[in-house]
Symmetry: C2
Subunit: 213 residues, 2 copies
């Protein structure tokens, strides 16, 4: 059990990278280009399923059974009533999404999958442990004028974000409040993630920096 | 009515500075060293009163009636039941505060005062408009171990923060969720502030960058 656990974030999102660093973990980023597919589900089941696919695809690329490894996969969607909003395809779709979210309340779901394997021998890899969960946060927007919506959509920020907005930027102007974890809206529920890791990885110190996990 | 409004943030907090910049305002920072004093109040009345004192002290230093000016004052406290927690005096007090907040729910109050004067003639300054409000956010912490509390208190981060924690840093590990505006917990309710400014400053464009206010 010597050596540190290698932590891999299976996500290309710069926001998730910042959040994981914020809570003191040291990690690498690795992304698979597996096509994510999911049948119709509730939003919670959907993000769990997609986070699992991302984590499994990256876990499959790890090739040293003597190295303890933890892979973290995550996926976020915005739900408005029965409907799921992903990333807008273009500015026009961003405007249309923001119009529907304006002055209303919606839900943000982030699913997280943890895949963990302790260090084993070269011939007998240790078994793989898995944990998947999701968090939901309700978000309430102030009413936005047509000009405010068009101006925000035109700045390009919505295009890589589920629901066409980023709560951590200038869009904070339009957020009245929320119920749940703020960081879950940014893309990773770091409070829940940290608590799950304390239970899941049953030995001290995932890495130097997080020695007090 | 030519010329832009000069916006002054009457707060030394680097977090408030970042938040005001985040929503696209251009401003200067000016701090008075007036001793803040407030009689016993409810937390909401207290932060409103202290924000008013900060804004008024800085407003009194403005000396060009021909220049339109907006001063923003703010104050934040943490309330646990009937008790108000300010900034801890030292590491031991930080540990004691965090022990009480651990595994429990508390309230964060931020009061904001806006003082605004349109550009007037040299001899007849325009009248001063004032608006004061506060926002409250409930915050729920996960239970923290003694080691987690002591390790966080020892890193020095709690010392300049009401309630001995900063939600925007590594402390996110211990935050289960909240109800209300996240940025209110950081120190400035920027959503509400932006909406109030739209009503309060009744002409287009506080400054170049915020032309779409």
């Amino acid at each position: 059990m010597s050596g540190q656990t290698k932590i891999i974030l299976a996500s290309a999102s710069p926001r998730r990278r910042e959040l994981l660093a914020q809570i003191g973990l040291e990690f690498e980023v690795q992304v698979s280009n597996v096509e994510e597919k999911a049948a119709a589900h509730s939003p919670g089941e959907l993000v769990e399923e997609l986070s699992r696919q991302k984590a499994e695809a990256v876990f499959a690329l790890t090739d040293d059974p003597a190295q303890a490894v933890l892979v973290i996969g995550a996926d976020t969607v915005v739900a408005l009533g029965e409907e799921i909003l992903g990333k807008p395809a273009d500015e026009a779709e961003a405007v249309s999404m923001l119009r529907r979210l304006s002055g209303a309340s919606h839900q943000v779901y982030t699913g997280v999958t943890l895949l963990y394997r302790e260090a084993g021998g070269k011939t007998a890899p240790a078994p793989v442990k898995q944990k998947t969960f999701h968090e939901m946060t309700r978000v309430q927007f102030y009413p936005m004028s047509r000009q405010e919506i068009e101006s925000y959509a035109a700045n390009g920020e919505p295009l890589d974000k589920a629901g066409a907005y980023g709560i951590q930027g200038v869009f904070a102007r339009y957020v009245q409040g929320l119920e749940g974890d703020y960081y879950n809206v940014v893309g990773l529920p770091v409070g829940r993630l940290y608590q799950e890791l304390k239970d899941f990885v049953n030995f001290g110190g995932l890495c130097e920096k997080s020695g007090n996990l």
